[in-house]
């Protein structure tokens, strides 16, 4: 009896938590479907009285979303790829090799972790100007080719791999980068997945940097398109903003949705392994 009550309480708690998480998502979708006359009502309306598909058309036409979408996918993919390569190489060296200056480099990485972009953006901007890369894809990607966050996170994960595994792999003729590829990365998979998702969201949503370094619509990214719908002085068209938000957030939500199974599984595995 006690157990049944406990179960019911547990399910109730889970349901409430799920509702709290799902609520904003639901509101986002519903608002994106409402005609603007139904957006602001004295009491919230849970369902659109009339579904206004034109919101999506209007929002899509409000900015060059097609081009922005392609750019966002390309830039984010390039950043994630480069960050994974550089972070795992750096983390490999910092976690599993001894060399002069390692402590200092680690210290510098941790330092870089806590420096906000507002501090580095000028230096990066001027560097890119010297390279002649401003207003190009290079400017969107190069400053994020390395990640202190990823390096630190992966280093911690790589440290947790027992030395004996590395010795065993060595006797099996697997050393250096092969060890990184066949052992460290697979064994750190939950961390790698978490890092990729965090970096994906951060760079997919990045607004400040692309706006600072680009002037051409052809190379700009989705959040800039979204920003065009948010106003500071004058009031925002909420239904269009919500529709535009779906363009931006939608792909990431789909990625989460598709990877969530795997994401959860890798966490379960991590629990069993140790």
């Amino acid at each position: 009896m006690k157990r049944v009550v406990g179960r019911i309480l547990l399910y109730a708690a889970v349901l409430i938590a799920a509702a709290l998480v799902a609520m904003p998502m639901y509101w986002l979708v519903v608002s994106a479907l409402k005609p603007s006359s139904e957006i602001f009502t004295a009491t919230p309306r849970w369902l659109p009285g009339r579904i206004e598909w034109r919101n999506f058309v209007n929002a899509w036409e409000g900015a060059a979303f097609g081009r922005y979408f392609i750019n966002s996918v390309g830039v984010t993919a390039a950043i994630l790829f480069l960050q994974l390569v550089t972070s795992s190489l750096a983390a490999f060296a910092l976690a599993r090799r001894r060399f002069v200056g390692r402590g200092f480099i680690l210290f510098a990485v941790i330092g870089a972790l806590i420096i906000p972009i507002q501090v580095t953006f000028l230096a990066n901007f001027i560097t890119l100007q010297h390279f002649g890369w401003l207003d190009s894809y290079g400017a969107l990607i190069a400053p994020f080719a390395a990640s202190a966050f990823g390096t630190f996170l992966l280093r911690q994960a790589f440290l947790a791999v027992p030395d004996a595994i590395e010795d065993a792999a060595r006797l099996d003729r697997c050393t250096g980068l092969a060890f990184l590829w066949h052992f460290l990365l697979p064994l750190a998979r939950p961390t790698v997945v978490a890092f990729v998702l965090v970096a994906l969201v951060a760079h997919w949503n990045d607004y400040f940097w692309p706006l600072i370094v680009t002037n051409r619509d052809q190379i700009r990214t989705l959040p800039i398109g979204l920003a065009m719908f948010v106003s500071q002085e004058v009031t925002t068209d909420w239904n269009l903003l919500m529709a535009a938000t779906l363009f931006v957030a939608g792909p990431v939500l789909i990625v989460f949705f598709l990877t969530q199974r795997y994401f959860i599984r890798s966490h379960v595995n991590a629990g069993l392994k140790r």
Partner: protein, 422 residues
Amino acid sequence: MRFGRVLVAAAIAAIAGWTIPANADPVALSFWYPVDVGGGLTKIVDGLMADFNKTHPGIKVTAVYTGNYDVTLQKIQAGKLAGTLPDVGVTEISSVPVLASLGAAQPLDTLIAGSGGAKFLDKFWPSMLLNSRYQGKVYGIPFQRSTPVLYYNKDAFKEVGLDPNKPPETWAEMASDAEKLTKRDGGRVTRWGVELPLEAFNWFYYALVYQNGGQSLSADGTHVLWDQPKDIGALQYWYDLVNKYKVTPAYTPWNDGPPEFVAGRTAMIWHSTGSQSFMRQHVKFHWGMGRLPKNVQFGPPSGGANMMLYDTDPAKQKAAWTLITWLSAPAQAARWSAASGYLATSMAAWNEPEMQALVKKHPDVLVTKEQLKDAKAEPASPKYAPARDILNGLIKAVLANKEPLVAGAKKATAEANAAMAQ
């Protein structure tokens, strides 16, 4: 012989990389703008630029959307260091001293002199030029300008027995009207009397200080005056609306204001003239606009953005100036104003067909014009940015009763003055 000379000259020109002036490519200009209003307005900017390019074959302007006011400012500051400034940029009016002192924006006096001097400037509403100068020189030309007005719910006025055609004109009237208009269900407020939304630029604080006959920044722009009696009085009035009369919430985010008004959750609201079109589109009751009330005087603050010029090369300056004067000419100013809800910057613009049509359709637009004669400058100085944030924190803390008013104002004043002295 002569032919030979031409050949030599041509060769030299080619080697030196000169372009032959005749049949030259048009002067390329960039125009950075932080419209901050929906996708639709970027289209209007693009349309304006297309028309300009069509009518000015020697110049080719590219419009670049640059995000909100803060990012635009940072982009220009970075551009100054990297040498990637635009030719013309639109920035929030308080950035004039910031970008002028940095040597990024260029003084316009010579160009103005070439365009008629004082006569050129006299076309603008005088109050719109209050934020244009730095150290005696003109840098900013008005472009997208706004001022706050009082929006009020006429049905609610009628409901509580107030004259729906007489919005409050003084602080005292506004407080007493708001008390009547505030509706409570038990302890819970279902309708506020009035809302004064807060944004990063602290607009309504400056409004209250001006209305109280004060200044919030010293004339030389070196220190803030928030601990002075008139400034204290202004914040005290706001504090009383929240905590004594209990007719306004301690904090309303800027963007929440108009939807709250539309939804009937507040009977009056202070907001930008730029929100008119939103109100027209969404409000389902009778409503009107009034001037912001006065205490010792009317004192609406200025807002919005000016155009500034960043070229040092005379040929480019000339082209950029052509663009600036074209955009501020009545026809374009009216077109921009009617489409965006920003204020028409020149008196003549009100006579343009677009504005005439607007006035005919919505006569209360004239309130915004009426109010312009009282408008005051927005506090600005090269190092004001940290003070702006400190003031924002002070207002929130005092209204929420987290900090005592007088002591808090003194502390914030000292803090801001120290930050500005650095």
